[in-house]
Subunit: 223 residues, 2 copies
């Protein structure tokens, strides 16, 4: 059986959990606290960051959320979540990049670092200026998601794709921290509620990080 | 003919220039200064960041360096730079992610912002603390590149791939700023010099940003 090395509030890890669940691929979860930089984990993933996917059967472990997702799509045959032709895939991948680089660097990584990692690493108290900037940045990003959700059934087009899973994975982490201004973005809320209702999403809603409870609405399907 | 909207010191833009040149695809370059956030450019690329690739012939413009690279590989048939099987491609894509997210966020984006964008945007003087952190981070990254360059002919295996082009694009930007400690990393220098000698690399070595001359060794093939 495959193993996914993950951290609860790693958006890339949640993205792969969603993809594997949508594709009905069974896997074990192995928790990895990235700030510990365990030598055995660094051998699997030199960057030191989850997710790492060990497909089993002698296949080497692989890392980088987008690389893992492409591998899973390539090796699982039809029913693809990557899009049906090169142009559609380019749009799906544009959004993968948007969240994996821009949203991560400007919003989710900042908030998780300030509010979780600092405490776990005993690296001081959250920096209010960084949190303020991340919240401002989030509104720019949610504006774009809102436009897409108005124009299309799913973020990259008519069919649900990896773009929805990546975006929802990032938002679910930020939502766990109670930081998503849902009331200001009704279109985003509507799109997210459809994802939240899917069976693949259920395990994420049951996640609890010791010492950091989520807000009450976190696992509420009618939020 | 295709058009690539680029910025001289955007690593993602340089990566696509290298890919298109390696594949002998003719294209026009259109300069885009990302800090200007031109409305017409934001319509092509809502994130506001180059590279943006307009393939021509009615194909919508696309953005995100990795998305563009995958599109080019998918639509150009054989001779692929992405790897010959799913496992090899996973390793190529792991390195694309390493540079596009980690190296960018911890090294190249920081140095370009502090040393170029701040001046272009009139946003104060370079922050010495940030530059110091970026230089420290760079050594961690070059250690990994060095290990790969020792063990393999090219970064992801026996054949040159997009991983080499992405890594070299990032290093070329940092090298333009005179920030690569080549003497401490002879294996990296050796690998980079092989890339630097390729015809596809020549246009990058001729790049000059007004007001920011590169160091003398920048376009020297025997550096």
């Amino acid at each position: 059986m495959a193993t996914l090395y993950h951290y609860w509030l790693s958006p890339g890890s949640r993205f792969i959990r969603l993809q594997l669940a949508e594709r009905n691929i069974a896997f074990d979860l192995a928790l990895e606290n990235p700030w510990e930089r365990r030598p055995a984990f660094l051998k699997l993933s030199p960057s030191g960051w989850p997710p790492v996917f060990a497909a089993g059967g002698g296949v080497p472990a692989m890392s980088d959320a987008r690389a893992i997702a492409e591998y899973v799509e390539e090796t699982q045959g039809d029913g693809g979540l990557l899009g049906e032709n090169p142009l559609h895939r380019a749009e799906v991948r544009r959004l993968l990049g948007w969240f994996d680089t821009r949203f991560a660097g400007e919003v989710s990584d900042l908030l998780v670092y300030e509010r979780i990692y600092r405490s776990e690493m005993k690296a001081g108290t959250p920096d209010p200026a960084t949190i303020r900037v991340a919240r401002q940045n989030m509104r720019f990003h949610l504006d774009h998601v809102s436009q897409l959700a108005e124009q299309r059934r799913w973020l990259a087009g008519d069919a649900m794709s990896l773009a929805d899973l990546m975006a929802a994975a990032h938002l679910s982490v930020v939502d766990y921290l109670g930081e998503v201004p849902w009331d200001a973005f009704p279109e985003v809320r509507h799109w997210y509620s459809r994802l939240k209702s899917r069976p693949a999403f259920r395990p994420l809603l049951a996640d609890r990080v010791s010492g950091f409870p989520p807000p009450d609405h976190y696992d509420d399907l009618d939020f």
